[in-house]
Amino acid sequence: MSRPQHPAEATIMTPTVQPMLAASSPAWITRAAVAAILACLTTAALAAPGPHSSEAELLAVLRGDAPEADKAITCKFLAINGSPAAVPDLTPLLANPKLASWARIALEAIPGDEAAGALRAAAGKLDGRLLVGVVNSLGARRDKASVPLLAGKLSAADAEVAAASAWSLGRIATDEAATLLAGAIEKTPAADRLDPLAAAAVLCAATLQAAGNAEKAVTLYGVVRDAEVSDQRKAEAIRGTIIAKGAAGIPLLVETLRSPSRRLANMAIVTARDLARGETADKPLAAAVDAAVLEEIKAAATGNAVPRAVVLMDVLAERNAGGASEPVGTALAGMVSAANPKPIRLAAIEALGRAGNAAVVGPLLVASGDEDIGIADTARMAVSTLPGEAVDKGIKGQLAKADAAALPALVELIGRRRINAVAELLPLLGHADGKVRTATIVALGPTVDLANLEVLVTAATAPKSLPEGEAARTSLREASVRMADREGCATKLAAALEKASAEAKVTLLDVLGEVGGTKAVATMAAAGRSGEEALEDAATRLLGKWMTADAAPVLLELATAQPGGKFKTRALRGYIRIARQFVLPDDQRAEMCRKALAAAAEAADRKAVLEILVRYPSAATLAVAEEAVKLPGLEAEATKAADDIRARVQPAKKAG
């Protein structure tokens, strides 16, 4: 009985699945491997080494004279299935430059001290790269018993061995490892030896810190900070220290924010961004960090360090995204004041947009009317993103009190925030100031409901001014395409179309084209056969790019029976487009092609239909192509199309 094929096996063995394994290549599994198994196992299954092989089968491969490729893949399977019993057969491979890495794949994974012991023993015998490899594996296993061995290699003549030993101690990260790394740093003068030690110490400290031993971590970070190491290592140690010390680390954070070293200052900014963040963050610590950053912003803003203040405000905004505390919100709101330099104002406004709440709407609304366009635009953008219904209420509340100068900005904010304020907006359509009327039309686009859609229809089809007409057409489209009741919306637009002027009818058809749906298609059909050239032009243009297949019957009708006939070709090409591009059942597509061939007068259109038939080969499209052979002038091309389809539909017979 054959066993089920494993997905990994299939890939290993199948050249078509894994292009690298050509059929002529031995790939992983060779006859020699199978022979080795058969020779060694009395109860062996007739299987090559693989996911289902027993440990005994796999060890037989290692013990025999199988090629290196087979031994290599065997090591991988032993990494998953091997037991300590496999260790004696894997250990000799550690000295084999070709297979050592494969053996370590298994020896890193096999549980138990046998595997670790084999690696430790090998570390005493090997040198160079092979030694580095086993040292790395001891680190990967976090083998505490190897700490003395690794400590002894920190001063190895081979710098790579010393660096790898340090890193493995960092990974093991016991108190003893930390002490050894600290001692090595303190007595190592050479820079090229020092930096790997420092990197390992930072790793060790971070691991200790994660395990809850912050005190030991801070001590080790301190050793790195005091050493003559690269700025990157110092920066890492400073970051670790700040995180480990919590509130007590804030003075160091502030000191580092002011560092003249770009790398250190950058690290402080990163740390200020992520310290005490998230749902489980220590809230008092988060507040303390905010306060410290705020003080730095104030100091920088009043000094000659405006760009620094700007970046720190970005930090504060990120820390408080979605809702700043009262002190932070108040401080930022204060910086919006016109008394501050423009860069500070802009950064504060942007920060409030990300971190503000209803409490800061007032200063932002004032700024949204600022005579500086940059300030005003930024403030409006900020208000538009503030969270909460209280903000909406605040804006609506301002609406009743605002004069003509302030109204456009407030109305714009209603639109941007999509505040449900249609009742408050509708009276403004009759406002004496055209800017207010235009702003209201724009704001109704994202807010008006279906019941009030007519106001935009009117504004679009009978505008009071050119700007209002342009705004109304955009708003009507925006409102129409978002209506959940698509058919209801189309019905209203179609009704308006009946009463509209010729020019307005085209505008409404354009909107209907974007709305789509059954009623829209029917309205297009009526327009297409209306006898009015402008409407027929618009209807065939819009149906020609329709996004659903229900436009097809209308297009065919217009292609064959449009009274004036001026847009017949366009309609037919729209019909052909649907047959070519849309997901359709084979029979339906074939039938559409049959009808298109019958309707097509031009050779190019007939050829396009034949191309569709070939593109979707099926019995149904083959039948249409065979019929097309009889059409005058199409015999040769239809014959070729039929042949092409036939070749793809009917599988080739096997030779012999």
Partner: protein, 430 residues
């Protein structure tokens, strides 16, 4: 429109605009070079971000183009194990900058040793991504790294921790995080406009395990021409073969016995699914594929479904998010299909837009200056990759596995736990 990117305003772009305006009046800053933010078009060399590229092949060439479009980028060096490619990319860079200053390296560690290089673009094959990014972080470089970013669960966690420890800016090559229509779809899910989330779908394009094999030995080329040892890097040893060298895109993807489409495409589409569920930790339960679907379950019961079939034809890398009140599906065509037009709030799909991926590079460069986290940051990439690796383990073992999010170990499953990591070839570690 932003002159540098041609992008539509976004929240991030908006912030950048503020910084630009904010810095216009400032003195020469210590942290954020004013003109490096593109204030006056021309950017003095002293204020450019100096970038080095490693392993610039097909995909990397696209990334390189995105970097070179940015006026504040000085591409200073390229590294490749292949001499022909080193020379080619140097030619592209030198032509762009109008000089012959782009240095070439065979060993990326020499490039990382250069103190003048601020950031690196890593576009090698996936065999190198994780390790090289961690070594770059240790060198203090900011990193834009192509995906998949890691080979297994252990490397994924180490990668995340390394980026956190070293404080560098890391951007995974998950450019769809900066494509407006995908961002819009994710925002619908995240902000509750689809109702409470029920299911998110990702397209793996092949739920098969894969491994890179051991092809017949061929004569080893001169390392100055093709450096086989450096190409193998952390992958276990095998003899030189030209076809293996030529397929860096697939070589050791996912490391050992797992990998495949779940990782190749999942690092994109699962990443988007993760974004849709607010970048929460990865799913806790993974079942092997059944009827072309691999179902995973988050701790809160929401399902992540790797689905091969049933997609609306919206281009490659489709995703679908389903909530109690609606759904949205989006793909690389730049289009979306939604359960209700109301979800578009009056906008057209075409207005929301799709490519180019330049947005993602710009996001990275802005964050290099502000030290903020880019959208494809290490934590986000970590969660998506953990989900892909765990799903691959379920595929390999052909049985359900449960992931403990406290330890990132599988519950009572030794074989699954052994698949979480794989030894690197000597002498590599990070």
């Amino acid at each position: 429109m932003s002159p540098a990117t041609g992008s539509k305003p976004s929240r991030r772009a908006s912030r950048r605009a503020f910084l630009k305006a904010g810095l216009a009046a400032g003195a020469a800053p210590m942290i954020v070079p004013s003109s490096a933010l593109g204030l006056d078009g021309a950017v003095p060399p002293s204020e450019r971000i100096v970038v080095g590229g490693i392993g610039i092949g097909n995909r990397g060439g696209y990334d390189l183009g995105c970097f070179l479009q940015q006026p504040d980028v000085q591409f200073a060096a390229v590294c490749d194990v292949k001499e022909r490619r080193r020379a080619h990319v140097k030619g592209v860079v030198d032509k762009h900058h109008g000089n012959a200053a782009c240095a070439t390296y065979r060993d990326f560690r020499e490039l990382l040793d250069r103190p003048d290089i601020d950031a690196v673009l890593i576009a090698t094959g996936p065999n190198w991504h994780g390790l090289m990014a961690m070594l770059a972080a240790k060198a203090g470089k900011d990193i834009y790294c192509e995906k998949p970013c890691t080979k297994n669960i252990a490397e994924t966690l180490a990668h995340r921790d390394t980026m956190h420890r070293s404080g560098v800016v890391f951007q995974a090559g998950t450019q769809r995080r900066n494509l407006p229509h995908f961002a819009f779809a994710c925002e619908l899910a995240r902000t509750g406009r689809l109702g409470s989330m029920k299911r998110v779908y990702a397209h793996p394009a092949g739920m098969r395990a894969m491994t890179s094999g051991w092809l017949p030995e061929e004569p080893l080329p001169d390392a100055a021409v093709d450096d086989w040892d450096m190409y193998l890097g952390p992958a276990a040893w095998r003899p030189y073969n030209g076809r293996t060298l030529g397929d860096g895109f697939n070589f050791e993807k996912g490391g050992g016995l797992v990998g495949g489409g779940v990782l190749e495409w999942g690092s994109h589409c699962v990443d988007l699914c993760q974004w849709a569920v607010n970048d929460c930790p990865p799913p806790v339960e993974y079942s092997p594929p059944k009827n072309d679907e691999l179902v995973c379950r988050y701790a809160d019961g929401v399902e992540l479904v790797f689905r091969e079939k049933g997609w609306i034809p919206l281009g490659s890398c489709p995703v679908r998010f389903e909530g109690a009140d609606g759904w949205v599906e989006a793909g690389d065509s730049g289009k979306m299909v939604l359960s209700s037009p109301e979800l578009l709030a009056g906008r057209k799909v075409e207005e929301i837009g799709g490519y180019p991926a330049t947005f993602h590079v710009r996001d990275f460069l802005d964050c290099v200056k502000t030290r903020a986290k880019p959208k494809g940051n290490a934590e986000a990439a970590c969660n998506a990759h953990l989900a892909c690796h765990a799903a691959n383990i379920a595929i390999y073992l052909q049985r359900p596995v449960k992931l403990d999010l406290a330890t990132y170990a599988f519950v009572d499953d030794e074989a699954a736990n052994r698949l979480r990591s794989e030894a690197r070839r000597e002498p590599w570690f990070a």
